[in-house]
Amino acid sequence: MKKEGKKVQISERRRFFTNIAQSTGLGIMGGLLWAGYAEKAKSSPLTLRPPAALEEKDFLRTCIKCGLCAEACVNRPSNIDKESGKPRPGTLKMAKAQDDVAIGTPFFVPVEVPCYMCDDIPCVPVCPTGALDESSVTNKEGELDFKMMDMGIAVVDPNSCIAFWGIQCDACYRACPLLDEAIKLEYGRNERTGKHAFLIPVIEMNICTGCGLCEKACVTEKPAIFIQPREIALGKPGSHYVKGWDQKDQERVAERVGTDVTTHGKRSEKEAADYLNEGVDFE
């Protein structure tokens, strides 16, 4: 009797659960590999996105990788070479697998082709998903405004910028489409020679759009002025530092009315005048 019992009965239920377990196991293994790759395939934090792009996390969610922005960029009328009638290389590139940018998403490399800040911003309205957000470059009058673009910010390396050496160079200043607004020249006296001036480029961080024309124009072997995403290049002082000399910044203090900024501790239970006068006989 026992010999017959050795033959295992495979019930339909056992078969069902085993199948489920097998599929689940395969699914989890595949899913983990896939998720790991997708996570790695996200972009380098140094990636520069087209104008009006959403914040990177939302951009990756929303971009459908259709390339309409890149096509609008390369085929814009101002990009057609008048002599040959053919378009020059466009600013926006669609990422390939080797680019260290999420595959198929648009980006640009200013030192190759910078953004020319077209006043009709052809790359933005064509976006079907809103990954390039038209409202972020639309001014109060409802017009597209290239001054509102924000792709990054120019950063100057004072060690390799020859203007800091005292050599007169204003290539970036002149290349800037927001001339004398986004890059200003700061004059200084060259103590070394005693008779020359420093003309030092200074970036206005609220105006610079990160178009990269300065990086393209820079004369040094590797550009001494270059575009970085704002999150990478900029610090953050914190809201409790207020510019006392700036009226607009001062208004932030007024906004804080009602919030208690005093530190409460053992020593602040009484007014200073009270504890200083404690035990003093005024008679």
């Binding site: 790759y37 459908i64 990788k65 259709c66 595959i103």
Partner: protein, 266 residues
């Protein structure tokens, strides 16, 4: 030559679309701009890949009106008319896997190889996994690895290292698994199978004319859908049929042909 009628029409369809896409970027043609993920016809009508839109939703994107409309247009077109025709008439990877399959027949690999069995339902699991991974990583997961968009973008914007994936799929289909990519793995094919489940255009079999030569089963990329050959006169109703018409092409006995599915008479 009639043996290649639908094959030639399909290649014309696939290549024409690629040429239009290419011209949209290279010469600024307005007919069809964008890529296979999302396009614009004459700068007016949006078209979007429903699966990409679904993944974006899973990833947590706020969907715009345009992509939703584009996905609905595509879903309605294939749902009513095309069936799974995207896979055989539009998708550029179909040309890669068809080439692998053709070579596979020429080299008699079917007859020699050690068979690996993989369920053809894998593609439906892939859909679910793609949506879960999209949710977890916050980006459309299949779009990161999709050879379809890699090939399509490669033609339009130039190829990169992603082209290696296409070579891999070619050799996988050739030496490892017959119809491996299109017939087993590709989740986009799964999505289009589901979308096209109730469409009107179907291949119809007339078993009275059938001489059981089985040429149709030799060429069919989804051979399970031809289960009625020589047995019953009926339409090919399984959703995995890609409406490629290859079986109609190779049939010398007029036993297969395109027909409009009859929903009224039962």
């Amino acid at each position: 030559m009639s043996n290649y009628k639908y094959l030639i029409l399909r290649r014309i369809s696939q290549i024409t679309l690629l040429v239009l896409y290419f011209g949209g970027n290279a010469y600024g043609w307005k007919m069809l701009t964008g890529t296979i993920s999302s396009s614009s016809v004459l700068g007016a009508m949006p078209l979007s890949d429903p699966f990409a839109v679904l993944q974006m939703l899973a990833a947590g994107a706020a969907l715009s009106f345009d992509v939703i409309l584009g996905a609905i247009i595509i879903a309605l077109f294939y749902g009513i008319i095309g069936g799974r025709a995207f896979c055989s008439w539009v998708c550029p990877v179909n040309m890669v896997t068809d080439a692998a399959n053709w070579l596979r027949r020429k080299l008699y690999i079917d007859k020699i190889e050690r068979k690996i069995w993989v369920t053809r339902n894998l593609r439906y699991y892939m859909i679910v996994i793609a949506l879960i991974v999209s949710f977890l990583t916050g980006m459309a997961a299949f779009e990161v690895i999709s050879p379809i968009t890699i090939l399509n973008r490669g033609v339009i914007f130039g190829f990169g290292a992603g082209a290696g994936l296409l070579v891999a799929i070619f050799f996988f289909d050739l030496f490892v698994l017959k119809n491996g990519w299109c017939g087993h793995i590709c989740p986009l094919g799964g999505v289009h199978s589901i979308i096209g489940k109730y469409n009107l255009f179907r291949v119809k079999h007339n078993s009275d004319n059938c001489t059981l030569c089985m040429k149709c089963k030799d060429v069919c990329p989804e051979v399970q859908v031809l289960n009625m050959i020589g047995k019953r006169s009926e339409s090919v109703l399984m959703q995995e049929c890609t409406n490629c018409g290859r079986c109609v092409d190779v049939c010398d006995d007029d036993a297969l042909g395109f027909n409009i599915r009859n929903y009224i008479k039962k």
